[in-house]
Amino acid sequence: MIARAHPLRLAYLLHRLSGLALALFLPVHFWVLALALTDPAELDGFLHMTEAGVVKLAEFGLVFLLAVHMFGGLRLLALDWLPWTPAQKTLAAVATALSFLVACLFLLGAL
């Protein structure tokens, strides 16, 4: 597994694992939403939990999973449906890396 680690394979693994994690999250998510109809008091109790630091951290994780899964999917669509030349793929990777860098700078500025 480690011997054959190359960027596209790691991207595939990230996409697959984030998808699995989101698939596990969604039923719980829908169950909590359903509490609004079946047991509003318990839902309130749940919503209070979101003030805890560990839950906030978990929400960062969730946003990360959603982001990498969405961009992973868009990447696959672009890769499969557009006739890229190798040079264009390199340019696209460079552009992605640059925009990620800029986003990180904004994040650092906000902290």
Binding site: L79, D80, W81, P83
Partner: protein, 238 residues
Amino acid sequence: MTPTDTLTVTIERGPAGAETFAVPAYENQTVLDVVSWIQQNADPTLSYRFACRVGMCGSCAMTVGGVPRWTCRTHISKVVKDGAVTIGPLKNLPVIKDLAVDMDPFFDKWIAAEGVHHSGQTRHDPIAPIDAATPARVAADAGIECINCAVCYAACDTVTGNDAYLGPAALQRAWTLLQDDKDTGRDDILDAVSGAGGCHNCHAIGSCTAYCPNDLDPMSAIAGLKRETAKSFFSRGR
């Protein structure tokens, strides 16, 4: 030439388990040279396959340090870590014995993907002129230097997970034939590559392109097939 040091070479011999050999290290030595040294000097029962030794025939591919490689053109210095290396048979193919795998499933899928010439003419017709500069011909040329070594097939996680998947080499051949003016099997090829084991199984993991010893790009060829089969589906309903 005298050996400079000793290499610790572990050979994975299938059900018989792994066996480790001490092999003299030379300045210039390929992985195939190392395997041959073991067979000729340490254990004559070691089975492996090779023919041309110059990267033409595609018969000597093995798993070297976990990565599929053509052994005749892989310098041992590229794969040795701390004086040691592990060599095993190609993955995703049945092992016959030691380092020799049964290539039949690989070639059967080549045929199943319609990777054969579909002739529209006879020997009595004049030879059709081919313009080397057309986009289709350029796309075909990019993929025709495949030597059938099955490195891409062994590297492919989708093949590992799905026995029916035709694999990168066969699909790339189908793609080159689809681009070939002399080939008239367009409908047959599109049907063959859009079936249960066809191009749409590909997850674009890209190991085929990463490890192809001839620097071919089967992943992009398969992406081309995905587009062609989709176009065909929306325009012809199949």
